[in-house]
């Protein structure tokens, strides 16, 4: 965590959060000078669902996220600043993450590769695999504020248990958009991620992501969405994080017998064997590809890591 911090008022209790919606909403999105597009070019299969508030979130159907409140974030005027900051709420009494909030600037962004985060066990954590899941692991340690934005490694206040689908299909595209914008403009983006837990559940039902670019008053970045913590084809018990695929129980990798798992990085085309330096860290990588053998990895064009 960096020194440039601001204390913020945390919204935790869901009902309070809901009440706050509509009271202090900035109309920044509407003020951006953008073309008034019609529906031409919009896909029938595209995400077009909207919700007026967190209380109105529809059940997941087929899209990884839903737009909230017309994509207008709910930052307060007093939070607008051109100074970078990042802050992470204390865990609640159940050990669950709460709000992560930052004003993303280039000075917060990483200057080195991500370190190990495998030692953090967020609430609801289960090490399980399914063949139908991309990368096989159902759960990732999901950064609330992505590493590419604030360079946070194993900060337990910034890591929740999230499905691979939520991590890669839901949250990553928004992180990418913000990261590109900050890198290209040097501007700042107010960025807040709230995990939403129901009752005493240990697994979040999803996260609310809000962002607003400061210097251009939302003209570059402006969104307010809820991302579902689901995995298509997998049933999840949000009270504990337990899961199943139809009638088949999950494979607990800590009890799985035999079979060496080779972990490849689809970006670098390098694979890691058990015992090698980055083998454990690769389990949470968004670029993870599982091979059954070194031969299989090599035939796919991968080379073995040197360390």
């Amino acid at each position: 965590m960096k020194s440039n911090k601001r204390k913020i008022w945390m919204q935790y209790i869901l009902i309070v959060y809901i009440i706050c919606f509509g009271c202090l909403s900035m109309t920044a999105c509407g003020s951006a000078e953008n073309p008034d597009r019609g529906s031409a070019g919009q896909s029938e299969t595209g995400q077009t669902y909207t919700a007026s508030s967190l209380a109105d979130i529809p059940e997941y159907t087929k899209e990884p996220y839903v737009v909230i409140d017309g994509n207008e974030p709910d930052f307060s005027e007093e939070d607008i600043t051109t100074e970078s900051f990042e802050t992470y709420s204390e865990l609640d009494e159940l050990g669950r993450c709460r709000t992560a909030y930052a004003n993303i600037g280039q000075d917060l962004m990483p200057t080195e590769e991500r370190g190990s985060i495998g030692q953090v066990k967020p609430t609801g954590w289960q090490t399980v695999k399914y063949d139908l899941v991309d990368g096989r692991y159902l759960y990732n340690r999901c950064h609330l504020i992505g590493y590419q934005l604030t360079a946070e490694n194993a900060n337990e206040k910034n890591l929740i248990t999230g499905t691979r689908y939520m991590n890669v299909e839901g949250m990553l595209p928004f992180e990418n958009m913000v990261a590109d914008y900050v890198k290209e403009t040097g501007n700042h983006v107010l960025y807040r991620v709230d995990p939403v837990f129901e009752g005493g559940n240990l697994l979040a039902k999803g996260v609310q992501m809000e962002a607003w670019s400061v210097e251009d008053e939302g003209e570059g970045i402006c969104f307010n969405v809820f991302v579902y913590n689901v995995q298509p084809g997998i049933d999840i018990d949000y009270a504990t994080g337990a899961s199943s695929q139809g009638s088949a129980a999950a494979v607990d990798t800590e009890q799985e017998q035999g079979g060496t798992e080779i972990r490849g990085n689809s970006n670098s085309k390098i694979y890691h064997c058990p015992g090698q330096a980055d083998y454990e860290e690769m389990a949470d990588s968004r670029n993870l590809v599982i091979f059954r053998s070194e031969q299989e990895a090599q035939e796919a064009g991968y080379r073995k890591a040197k360390r």
Partner: protein
């Protein structure tokens, strides 16, 4: 006309009336492609790309109707439905990333032939892929 677009992995272009991404290297490359040529765009696109040097830039909201044969159109917010017959060539810059999208490219490139492809590094993108498509059975002849 020659259409220039930037697309993500799902052929997305915009989210919440904002472009998904931008890169100074792509802007520079568009400047090269349009050097000493006429480049059409709308007012939204003009705010980012209006400063290209050595290019005759024309800003108009109905630029797809106005652009003539061989002239370039930088398309960010427009559907191409209804103007397919005018399109002689398509230049696609692929970000090789996925972004949120609620507006997508609506020209079926499966009906076009990819004539050329090249890759380069951007200022905020590790790899950008530039592709050129011509209608199947035809070959676009650049005036140069």
């Amino acid at each position: 006309m020659v259409v220039i677009v930037c697309l993500d992995d799902d052929n997305g272009m915009m989210f919440n009336r904002r472009r998904q991404s931008k890169d100074r290297a792509v802007k520079e490359r568009i400047g090269q492609l349009s050097s000493e040529k006429r480049l059409w765009m709308n007012s939204y696109t003009y705010k980012l790309y209006g400063g290209l040097c050595g290019t005759e830039i024309i800003e108009a909201e109905d630029f797809l109707e106005l652009a003539g044969s061989g002239e370039l159109c930088l398309v960010e917010t427009e559907s191409l439905a209804g103007v397919e017959a005018k399109i002689e060539k398509v230049v696609v810059f692929r970000w090789n990333r996925k972004y949120p999208a609620d507006f997508w490219f609506d020209l079926a490139l499966s009906e076009w032939k990819r004539e050329a492809v090249r890759e380069f590094s951007g200022t905020s993108h590790e790899k950008i892929t530039e592709e050129e498509y011509c209608k199947k059975g035809t070959r676009y002849q650049d005036e140069e």
